[in-house]
């Protein structure tokens, strides 16, 4: 059965099935709704205000919405099921992200895109002026801008008709120096671009109107390669088995991207053939896989990839469905395991123009550390990732529905991503757990889990009794019901220590390299989707980062996406990315004599440097 839904403020009338997911229904009907987590219930961006439609609140909504919000009819569209007719008020492009040329760091990006529109009005041909169509247009454009222009076969094959149908007037759309499209005059056809971050777990896109610089929509989706391995190493292993595997992962990624582009265009009522350029950030393995390059040597010493430079390519060559002559611009990488995503974070955070030392940490599947000082930017890549994404953790999982995302020991409290029964522990939950158990004395500085008899400080009995020995190792019972137990094992703590130690030693060695101490750091920026959920205090308690004053620690969201946006919207930012990538000094940690000793010392929990 279908019911009538009126969408406000547009007044658009829809018919949706009873039982349908409201977010999915709205998107399929072409209503723009911001949901960067792809409907998993983690981003909380898809809030809508209902009159009718649905009465039953989900567990997540009960947990995440304030009393006032609930009383005013606010709901999370992704967790709302259509029950009856009614009205849905959708905040215009979910306001928070759709700023006019405003990045997540809040700074306006000056509009100077690589994609440009040039109005033209040419003299019509006469016997005295027999210049060919392309020569006529190119000559005009070259007179009114600096430098030569080019055209590909597709444009040349259609130029004659396009010029004549509008009497030699119109708009030329250029990507760089190449004329890729000829629009009718005053047709008001949009000129779109996309910023793309290809993460190991998530594909995130931002759709931008390049005539205004306005970010029309931000959306995200799982990287479909997940089915072939959760981390880059497992995917590299899969790809090196055969050329077909490499091609398969490439095609899967492109398929996922095409779906995401289609969705974001449908949401905003745009035509994906009007996307003329995609600026791409991402880690090195993902970008290699996207292009179909060999990745085998990324995983073998000396860890060298095929391509680091910035690269422009026709989108059609990879099967990416945008304008037939649209381009991809891949941001440059710094070193094989310090990818274009890091370049993009440095671009977004302007770390390259730091007067006082500034530190940025991007925790995705790997942990990248960047230190900007007046003498330049240093980076280091740490093997901090797998534990933070649930890898090698007994009950570890990614931050999807059912994951314990935060934990407090006294009183014992936790939250579950998406609500409902917990199914495992994600990265932020893991950090909270170890930090809290360390704080109350169940785990000591060396990371050893203590039995009640060994505890040196008084621990509440209801906590202490959750520690037990199973087989040859100790564990802490986080959750238990009739069907399952979720535990944190001694081995899990060791894994976190390794990850934490790697990240910490990265930070310390960069500071040592720059000859500064923690006190000199003016600002600490946490980037990455993960960076949005981590608890700052607990990260410091754990010693994940040095004991910086809390007010110096800021989250910047998906910095890689932000950097890609900058490179899309302003071509000087793109030049800057090339300069940054060439000038940044990458410190290979495993090659340093002081790595080992620092690493061992960094394994200890606590906030002492």
């Amino acid at each position: 059965m279908k019911v009538g839904i009126r969408v406000l403020p547009s007044g658009k009338a829809l018919k949706l099935k009873v039982g349908a997911n409201l977010r999915t229904g709205l998107i399929e009907a072409g209503v723009a709704i911001d949901s960067p987590c792809g409907g998993q219930g983690t981003c909380l961006k898809c809030k809508v205000q209902l009159t009718g439609v649905s009465r039953k609140l989900s567990a997540l909504e009960r947990e995440k919405l304030s009393d006032a919000e609930r009383q005013n009819g606010w709901r999370l569209a992704c967790h709302t099921t259509v029950e009856a007719a009614g009205e849905v008020r959708v905040p215009e492009l979910a306001v928070s992200r759709a700023k006019a040329g405003l990045g997540m760091l809040g700074e306006a990006i000056r509009l100077l895109p690589n994609v440009q529109r040039r109005q033209f009005e040419l003299a019509a041909p006469t016997l005295a002026d027999q210049r060919a169509d392309w020569d006529r247009l190119a000559g005009y454009l070259e007179e009114t801008r600096s430098g030569a222009v080019t055209a590909g076969l597709g444009l040349l094959q259609t130029i004659t008709g396009r010029l004549r149908v509008n009497n030699f007037k119109g708009d030329a759309i250029l990507v760089g120096n190449e004329v890729v499209e000829i629009d009718p005059p005053d047709a008001g056809r949009e000129m779109l671009g996309v910023a793309l971050d290809i993460g190991t777990t998530t594909l995130a896109v931002g759709l931008v109107d390049l005539d205004t610089g306005k970010v029309m929509a931000v959306d995200a989706e799982m990287n479909p390669q997940i089915a072939f391995g959760a981390d880059v190493i497992s995917r590299i292993l899969y790809m090196q088995e055969s050329g077909e595997h490499r091609e398969k992962l490439q095609k899967e990624l492109v398929r996922g991207l095409n779906q995401l582009l289609l969705r974001v265009c449908r949401q905003t009522g745009r035509d994906r053939e009007r996307i003329f350029e995609i600026a791409v950030a991402g880690n090195t393995t993902m970008l290699h896989s996207f292009l179909g390059l060999e990745t085998m040597y990324l995983a073998r010493a000396p860890y060298v990839g095929g391509l680091s430079r910035g690269q422009s390519l026709p989108a059609a060559e990879l099967g990416v469905q945008i304008h037939p002559r649209g381009k991809l611009y891949l941001l440059p990488a710094i070193a094989s395991f310090v990818g274009a995503d890091t370049t993009a974070v440095i671009l977004a955070s302007k770390l390259y123009e730091s007067d006082a030392p500034r530190l940025a940490i991007d925790i995705g599947t790997n942990g990248e550390v960047m230190l900007g000082t007046k003498d330049g930017v240093l980076t280091a890549s740490t093997a901090a990732g797998p534990a933070f994404e649930g890898g090698k953790i007994k009950h570890g999982m990614r931050a999807v529905r059912g994951a314990i995302g935060s934990f407090h020991a006294t009183p014992l409290e936790y939250t579950v991503v998406g609500g409902g029964t917990p199914r495992g522990i994600c990265g932020s939950g893991l950090i909270d757990l170890v930090a809290e158990l360390y704080r109350v004395g169940i785990i000591n500085r060396k990371g050893r889990m203590l039995l009640p008899s060994e505890m040196e400080t008084p621990v509440a009995p209801e906590l202490a009794e959750r520690v037990r020995e199973r087989g040859d190792q100790r564990e802490f019972v986080v959750y238990r019901d009739r069907e399952r137990e979720i535990t944190l094992t001694q081995q899990d703590v060791r894994e976190l220590q390794l990850a934490k130690g790697a990240l910490r030693v990265g930070i310390e060695l960069l500071m040592k390299e720059a000859n500064i101490s923690a006190g000199d750091i003016r600002e600490v920026l946490l980037a990455g989707v993960f960076g949005n959920y981590i608890n700052r205090e607990k990260a410091i308690t754990l010693g994940l980062v040095p004991p910086f004053p809390l007010e110096k620690v800021h989250f910047i969201g998906n910095g890689a996406m932000e950097g890609a946006l900058r490179a899309l919207i302003n071509r000087k930012e793109r030049q800057k990315a090339e300069e940054v990538a060439a000038r940044v000094r990458h410190i290979e940690l495993s090659g340093r004599p002081d790595f080992e000793s620092n690493f061992i010392r960094s394994l200890e929990l606590g906030d002492k440097l």
Copy 2:
């Protein structure tokens, strides 16, 4: 039944079928043999020396070979049928055309191709030097040459394997700034290029070793578009009927080119995937059709095409089967009906650096006239073509087997292309016929064919009686047997007058424009395949060209092909072509007030200016 044939000087042993055509058999066995006419018996380039093999001389061989040649066993391979075992001595690459970097004008072209080989020996990656593969190679190449280098997706997808298999040593092959291939070190793999002239009737290619500049082979084939119309106008009409027609002609042309490339590579034992660039000349309609551009407006005032500028394109985009990342370079055109073939002729003849006035005439399907003076180059395009290619002539035909190719009146003698019974009259035969009948007084200065009673000078009775009236017009019986008559009609004479008048007025108006007279002209160059067969004296008798002293009139063969060769072998010649095309001044004849009166005066036969 097959017989054994030994090929000298190589000593290669073949088995050929009795009854097979010798030229075809040799080509299919991969023996290099020069035959630019494609085996029609018009170029006489495929001479071979036989011991055994064949005894029976063809009519063409009896006519075209000297007594000495016949006595020494020389034969035309294209007109020889295999009868028995024996030996065939094939001149090395048919010597005459396969000069090392020598054009047909006899001047060596300095080797400086756009396709370049760069040896490299890179430092292998280490932990201290983790540059990506492409960055490593590109950095090396950029250090050792000026300017940035680029790479496309295909190269990036294979670079990692190619560098490692040979320990980071090898040869990079560049087309312009783009690295298109990586060869193993010291593999001696050839680096080939092709010069291509796309004529309305004929496709001609020259295969060049770009390491040495040596022309390995020259070959030609009919343009398969012939089936869709003999001249450019009929093809434009066909193409404008539908997009499918346009695509069909494009595909036919590419198919013909691919076959020709395969054949020329097989002849010379080369791999067509080692062709990295094709420099393309051709008339504007043919180049438009080759690229699949709209041609409709080329045939409508003000006669404007889609593209005149020089253009580089990936060959694969058009389906041209060379190296997968090989390029096409289209020479620039001067104006819509003054195509890249004319630019190429100017390049080949160096008309652009004429101290004293020099005239070049390229007669293909159109007649192009070029005049070089110390003040620059002028061109004009004349509608001189159709009659010269048999169009609109009652018994007209192209210069293929059976065409009357030359004619002499006293005594009456003619030659037949390829020998045998005459089937029609080709361009050179038409010129001879009209010139001779004018000389003996059967046609008067106005072009009127005279009945015996009207003739003012004594004419041999056996000639005079061949003039008769049929229906409402007069005609001259050229040939007659039981089955057929071949005649030259009054209307044919009128058509030739129109063509001759157009060409002549073009020459005169260019001279007028440059303010010079016929006596000032130092050299007259006749280009085009047709230019090889025309009789110089008769062309002057007829007034096709002004009465220049014979020693000033030279044939330069296929000047368009020669220009394409120059642009292939030396990139400064390519720059020169761009400059020439931009600077040459094209005189639009039909737009001039003095065209009409000059044209009418030029219709008269005779050598008076």
